[in-house]
């Protein structure tokens, strides 16, 4: 229980968080950076969702003419790219930032300024790619941009230039954050926080960081080739020069399949926190959960070519990748059964986070099963590039990742803001999302098996696709309505939600021992951890769930002693990571904007000067 961790003093001189724009621009506080990630990711989720609504409206009936074919290409490309790189990944990054230091008992991440840099670079990259909408030249080559369609010859406009450079910038952000979190988790665990005592979310995050730092260099290289092909006339994807178009596919999916796990594992981690709390039982089979995470990550590098059965790699390669793909389903299935085992016989309480958590378990399983169906090359040949695939990955990414991330948002909102989100609105959000998502994506299985190709702009009547598409479009608008409820709940609850207190859910892990929201220094005294679930009794039954706070929406948040009062040294806020980002972005802007060498050089110079100023300044004030 709370005896194992020292809670910071809540008495003492009142201290309010510094606010104002400068405090956000110069922040190095992992919790603030986490919030920035969260707000930005939710904004991109809404924009990516609006793109999806255009797509669904266009496909509502046969011969849709709402948008032109050209615009449609841009819409589906940006919908995929936005949801993957600007919504789900950064929403996961929001939780990495908010939770990893709290869960391992640290004051911040290992490199707080690099952390700020990661966020700013992500923001710059996502804005950069979307600026293309303003000149109606958004990327239009599909989110995996197959060669040679992505080359200058077949795609002469600036559309794919935005994609190439934007992806390069976004990759840099993920890589920088990856090194940071790997170091943080290895090196900043509180005394007693052994690896096998770490909360499962931190484990999932740890494994995800390795996937990021190993998979992103591959896409960096693939995209660099494309960048050189497009800007400097090299031959990497130039068929006439003898290039092999499969090079892009191999490199892309070598990154792309680990990327799938980069998208889902953090959500798995969040759900592994939520299910025990609301089942009032420890996670079933903790070590197996950890080992299956590691195994998934390892096998994740050996299955990439299952995305390429249709290109004809020959029976040997097809068989090998088919078998590895079936194998990777085993550790994934183990996780599903462990979650069921966690809930089995538990004292379940169906609060909103729990509903979303159970939603992930059910819906991801559907997506997982249709995924294993693709592992067999003969059946994959029937399904590939059809709406069946679209149905599959939306069950995995929406039913899986987004459900898990929503569970995390409801579960950790009280820790992040000190206030509860509205439970009734949360339930409305869940049920509408659940209904809308199944209505939108389940009929796609049938449309796909009936031959409807993926990425199709418009289709003729009498192909048996009309009804399925009607349903999908209704479903999409129900999801949009549910998301509007979520946004209202999220924004309003920040100022008006019931006061949360330290541990509103009576959850077991140490982040719940500290006040909500946590002080900037997190733990007044670094805790010593003696068990996996320090907030629950070590002997005897797990406590029954207490009533969740519902009052105090009109009262102010609690105050704490400042870091100075406690004699804790925290990093000095600094603007330099932001300046470095601006320099870097300027250089890329110069590249895309008529290749202005002076602008590229100026941007590079600003970057290097800011980097030197940053690295040569100590992290904390000298003492």
């Amino acid at each position: 229980m709370a005896t194992t961790v020292a809670a910071p003093s809540v008495t003492g001189k009142a201290h309010k968080y510094e606010s104002g724009i400068w405090s956000w621009l110069a922040t190095t506080d992992h919790k603030r950076i986490g919030q920035l990630y969260m707000y930005t990711a939710i904004a991109w989720f809404v924009i990516g969702g609006i793109e999806a609504l255009f797509i669904r409206s266009q496909l509502y009936g046969p011969n849709g003419r709402l948008v032109s074919a050209d615009t449609y290409n841009q819409l589906f490309t940006m919908h995929g790219t936005t949801m993957i790189f600007m919504a789900i990944m950064p929403l996961s990054a929001a939780f990495f930032n908010l939770l990893i230091p709290l869960q391992i008992g640290a004051r911040d991440v290992a490199f707080p300024r690099l952390n700020a840099f990661s966020y700013w670079v992500f923001l710059a990259g996502s804005v950069f790619m979307n600026v293309s909408w303003l000149i109606h030249a958004a990327p239009d080559g599909g989110w995996f941009a197959y060669a040679p369609l992505n080359t200058r010859q077949f795609n002469p406009g600036v559309n794919m230039d935005f994609w190439v450079i934007g992806l390069q910038i976004l990759g840099l952000s993920s890589l920088a954050a990856g090194f940071n979190f790997v170091t943080t988790i290895i090196n900043m665990r509180a005394p007693g926080m052994h690896f096998m005592r770490m909360p499962v979310f931190t484990w999932a995050a740890f494994v995800t960081q390795f996937l990021i730092i190993l998979a992103f260099p591959i896409i960096t290289v693939a995209v660099t080739f494309l960048l050189f092909d497009r800007f400097f006339g090299t031959n990497f994807y130039e068929i006439a020069a003898g290039a092999d178009p499969l090079l892009w596919q191999h490199l892309f999916w070598l990154f792309g399949h680990p990327e799938v796990y980069i998208l889902i594992l953090p959500a798995f981690g969040l759900v592994s926190e939520v299910l025990p709390t609301f089942s009032r039982k420890p996670l079933f089979g903790y070590p197996v959960m950890v080992y299956s995470l590691i195994l998934i990550a390892f096998l994740g590098f050996g299955v990439w070519a299952h995305h390429m059965f249709a290109v004809g790699m020959g029976p040997v390669a097809d068989s090998i990748f088919s078998v590895t793909t079936m194998l990777i389903a085993i550790p994934t299935g183990v996780k599903i059964f462990n979650w069921l085992g966690t809930m089995w016989g538990g004292n379940l309480s169906f609060k909103t986070p729990m509903l979303f958590g159970i939603g992930l378990v059910g819906l991801f399983t559907i997506g997982g099963i249709s995924g294993v169906m693709h592992s067999s090359p003969p059946s994959d040949l029937m399904q590939t590039d059809s709406y069946f695939i679209v149905a599959h990955f939306h069950y995995v990414l929406f039913g899986g990742s987004m459900m898990g991330l929503f569970a995390g948002v409801y579960y950790y909102f009280p820790k992040m803001t000190g206030r509860m989100m509205s439970e009734p609105l949360g339930k409305w959000h869940f049920w509408l999302t659940f209904i809308g998502m199944n209505l939108a994506f389940f009929p796609m299985h049938f449309a796909g098996l009936n031959g409807m190709p993926r990425r199709i702009w418009s289709y003729d009547a009498n192909q048996g696709w009309d009804f399925d598409n009607h349903l999908s479009t209704y479903g999409a608008f129900i999801i949009a309505f549910a998301t509007a409820i979520f946004l209202y709940n999220f924004l309003r609850s920040r100022g008006h939600g019931a006061l949360a207190g330290n541990n509103p859910w009576d959850a077991p892990t140490i982040e719940w021992s500290m006040p909500s929201p946590p002080p900037d220094y997190n733990y007044a005294k670094i805790p010593t951890v003696t068990s996996r679930y320090p907030m629950w009794p070590q002997q005897g039954p797990t406590p029954l769930s207490p009533p969740v706070p519902t009052a105090g929406g009109d009262q102010p948040l609690p105050t704490y002693q400042t870091a100075e009062q406690l004699g804790i040294h925290m990093p000095t806020p600094t603007i330099k990571p932001l300046l470095a980002t601006m320099g870097l972005t300027l250089a890329f802007v110069g590249l895309i904007w008529h290749r202005q060498i002076p602008i590229i050089l100026l941007g590079g110079a600003i970057f290097i000067v800011s980097l030197y100023a940053w690295v040569l300044t100590p992290l904390e004030p000298e003492h």
Binding site: I186, P191, G192, H194, L214, L246, H250, F301, G302, V316
Partner: protein, 119 residues
């Protein structure tokens, strides 16, 4: 954090995972000198092989690859003192390195540059 060199500070003696003091014994000048000499000799051997009749034989590629693997290993073990340093660094390096090598070999198979049957 090699077990032989670590000792828990007295104040935290009850805590099994207290941070061990980092007492890495890096190699000395004598070792470095030998390492440099061996690397030099191996590089000479590589270039020598390139200019001998061995170039046309089936031993050429395996010989060169073996020599460069030895060079690679020596630099990593001694200059990067992985042999002497905390075990966690081996994991951080050898894990990714081995996956990367497997990936290279698989790609070469997939593009038909390697074949199960010797040609």
């Amino acid at each position: 954090m090699t077990a032989d060199h670590s000792h828990a500070p007295a104040s935290d003696a009850h805590e099994p995972h207290a941070p061990p003091h980092q007492e890495v014994h890096f190699p000395t000048w004598k070792t470095y000198r030998w390492v440099a000499l061996i690397l030099f000799v191996l590089t000479v051997a590589e270039v020598w092989i390139y200019y001998t009749p061995m170039k046309g034989t089936r031993l050429f590629a395996p010989a060169l690859i073996t020599l460069s693997v030895i060079k690679f290993t020596i630099v990593v073990m001694f200059y990067m003192h992985l042999k002497y340093d905390a075990k966690i660094f081996r994991g951080l390096f050898l894990g990714p390195l081995s996956i990367a090598i497997i990936v290279i070999i698989s790609l070469l198979f997939l593009f038909g540059h390697l074949s199960l049957h010797a040609t």
